[in-house]
């Protein structure tokens, strides 16, 4: 697992300028420009139920797609051609709890997370993959099944545009629900600040693995959550529970950062154990870079699988 990704890299879209665009769909579209080719591997290679056309068979072509029934009727060889696009089923698991509304920049973690989710949705939809959505706080609030249809993306964007309102964050309950609802195996992208007790996270993640799902976890944090940079002692109010604590930042900073790091490492360890990707993203990091990270992790995973297959064939 790489450490915290660099905040800013030259040549990418400035997140601050991006967030100034009010339309979520438009934001996503801006980021996806330049990532048009699909870099991932399809778990259902060459198979689709969407029929497009018949084509006369030429010698030397793969005989697997010959339509034998048509041959029986017409005594001619025709190849049955399918549209090769719905080859990935992706579920976006977006945290809508109020802890995501914290901001030290001009936009909140939730703005960032939703934009990233929209970007992924746009990108995957554009390359023909089915995209679904789970938004959750302490339980699943919105659920859109993974589809690739006209208007589905629009619905997904509308669901993402809702402001966070949940009073608490619970990771295990939504994961259990996802395991119930997402029957067909696919890719699950979890975008959350993960600021909740880990608890039985591992057992629920294991259930997803058992169901054949792949998981990519993005922990979205505000830069100030990491740095804990406050000028003086003051009352800190929990945005979810509204509890007050009088805290002197200087005296607790070190312990806070240590405990936050330990928490992140705990989640990461679980992910690594189960073979999932874990990324910690700060909200001042350009989104196209984050998207790039996602795709790069997909490529790396594809190579890993090929090497595993070669070892098996040997």
């Amino acid at each position: 697992m790489p450490d915290v990704l660099p905040a800013k890299e030259a040549g990418f879209v400035d997140p601050k300028a991006l967030m100034a665009i009010r339309n979520l769909e438009l934001r996503a579209r801006v980021i996806v420009e330049g990532f048009w080719s699909g870099l991932h591997r399809s778990p259902y290679h060459g198979f689709s139920v969407e029929f497009t056309e018949y084509r006369p068979y030429s010698q030397g072509e793969d005989t697997r797609y010959l339509d034998w029934r048509l041959y029986a009727r017409s005594d001619r060889f025709y190849l049955k051609k399918f549209e090769d696009e719905t080859n990935l089923r992706c579920y976006l698991l977006v945290d809508h709890s109020r802890s995501m509304s914290y901001r030290s920049l001009t936009y909140s973690k939730s703005d960032y997370a939703r934009t990233f989710a929209a970007t992924l949705a746009w990108f995957l939809n554009a390359q023909g993959d089915a995209v679904g959505l789970f938004s959750f706080d302490e339980r699943v609030r919105d659920y859109l099944p993974a589809r690739h249809r006209h208007g589905h993306l629009r619905q997904l964007m509308l669901a993402l545009e809702r402001e966070p309102a949940g009073r608490a964050t619970n990771l295990t309950e939504p994961l259990r629900r996802v395991a119930e609802l997402a029957r067909k195996r696919g890719l699950i992208v979890m975008i959350s600040d993960l600021l909740a007790p880990v608890g039985e996270l591992e057992s629920h993640l294991a259930r997803l693995t058992a169901a054949g799902h792949e998981l990519v976890v993005f922990q979205v944090l505000d830069p100030n959550e990491l740095a804990f940079n406050f000028p003086a002692a003051m009352l800190f109010q929990d945005v979810e529970s509204e509890k007050d604590l009088y805290i002197d930042p200087e005296s607790v900073r070190a312990s806070y950062q240590r405990r936050l790091r330990e928490h992140g490492e705990g989640v990461e360890a679980v992910c690594r154990k189960l073979g999932f990707a874990f990324h910690r993203v700060l909200t001042d990091r350009p989104l196209d870079l984050t998207l790039h990270d996602f795709l790069r992790s997909r490529v790396r995973r594809g190579r890993m699988i090929r090497r595993r297959q070669q070892r098996v064939s040997k």
Partner: protein, 678 residues
Amino acid sequence: MKFLSPWFLLGALAVAGPILFHLIRRAARERTTFSSLLFLSPTPPKAVRRRKLEHLWLLLLRCFCLSLLAVGFARPFFAHDITPPSAAAQERRLVLLVDTSASMRRKGLWDKALSVASRYLDKTTPSDQVAILTFDQQPRTLVSFADWSAWSQDQRAVLARQRLAAISTGWMGTQLGLALTGAAELFRENSVARREIVLITDLQEGAKLDGLQGYQWPAGTRVTVERLPAKSQSNAGLEILEPPAAVAGVGDEVHVRVANSSDSRKEKFHLRWRGTNEQMEIYLAPGQVRTFTALKPPAGVQGNALELSGDDLDYDNVSYYVVPELQHVKICCQGLGATNDPAGMFYYLQRVFPATPRRQIEFMSQLEQQDAFAVISTNLAPQEIAAWRAWLEKGKTALLVLTGAESGPTLAGLLGLPEAQVTEAGGEYGLLGSIDFQHPIFAPFDDPRFSDFSQIHFWKHRRWEIPASLKARVLARFDDGSPALTQIQVQSGNLLVLASGWNPADSQLAVSSKFPPLLETMLDWSGAGAPVRFQYRTGDAIASPIVSGAAVRWQKPDGKEITLAAGAPFTETDTPGIYRASAGDRERFIAVHLPLDESRTAPMSQDDLARLGVPLGQDNEQSAALARVRQQHLQDAELENRQKLWRWLIVAALAVTFGEIVLSGWLARQVTKTEAIS
């Protein structure tokens, strides 16, 4: 410096508010929201910083402003120029009115009364004038203002206390109204501003409040009621009723009235004649008065006592009884005609006065000294007239019927005139024109139902001139204006002159329904026919039952003997019991008992006194102290109103507030600048 409303000073505690705000303001202002406190632990704030007061000058200004407001609202004033009340205003007249009625015989009450009186005596100042009156049926002066002034200052209280200790409670009823007005009358003689009556009494509900209604109290009089706290006890009392005139002798019924006090908790009592074992059970609800027929008194005993038992208090549980005796009345009749002659007047007179069990009428033809009443219609011989006049002058009453012109010498002789002209009136008949219903003889007829005398025709009547020198009162006149019935005072006696007779030749008077009651009232008015009473209450004057003879010897129940002239009333009925009056071989017993009202021992409400206009002051010392405090408060309010220091304090508070506004504004700007720089 004093404060009119010192409790407003508590408002100064509000300075705790600014102090607190200055301590916690920092924490209150700096608050931030954070995504999660999951990885944070609270930091205990450092003590030094917490106790640090920010903007000390601002705090001082705010505290000062609040303090000024608190002091201002407490309305301060300087008490140095209070002028003490003048000595004249301090002078007062105090009357201690001590109840000595029978109800004060309850256990412990008299000692309490003495201690209360003593307490008031101890508190007197040299300028006070004190009188002590005791009262039961009437007030009696124990210590007068003159006595008090005559005593030396250091001896006054001691001597007054000695006099109080020398007396004790009596057996009389309670005339509280008379006592209060009597005490108030003592104030009429002087012009002292403060006049106080301290009423030391058990204030029982049986006390009489006569005379208080509409009484004009001397200005400045204040009555303080010192109610003696009596333990609430069940009490009932009894009183044997005077038998009616038609009843006499042993063997007749004895009626007794029993009263149960309204705070009584018992309702079953027993009546028993003293010396007998037989008793009668009676039931009487609290607060009620009922009359019972008692058991027959034992025969052969002239005086006896009926005892009540079953209540808690004994002092009023005996009522005395004397068997009524037959009353002999002698009426001297002269010239009224024969007994059986309907044309004469005696025929009708004897029928007017029938004999009754209590009264026996004896008609005499010759005048005797013990005769009580006389009816004359004949012309008296000159030698008889002197005896008749002497008889009249002893206080006797005679009715002279004018029969014609020949009655003139008799009339003149009896009245002590040289001559009197009596003439026959003319005309067909005369009627009674005007009647003086105010006179006791005609008073019973003073009702529209009975006042019609116009049906009585007087066929004949006589006229005579009433000389101006006589003390005469015309009770009735004929319609021609001549007197019909005239009362003339002859020394202490009375002569009634009727200008017509009641024989049929003269008038229809004898056959009128007015005739018997008219003569009966004449007999009663003369004093001869009035029924003799055998039952009296303590404090009553007993009319002498023996009117003739040299002297009457009275013996009280305690054995003390007093000799009075015959006919003189006996007034020393201060003890209940059987009194004996004797003259020679004649003796008569009279029962004197406690007034039944003394048995009604439930406490009376002071509101009853207030309703009758009694100027009630404070009923105890605590209230008096309260009044002094109230007076002091009024003086303070007056002083404070004159000085109005609060205005200056409010102005100062406004000035301080202005300074605080300026300072806080300046400080806020400084803070903004600092934040902007940082």
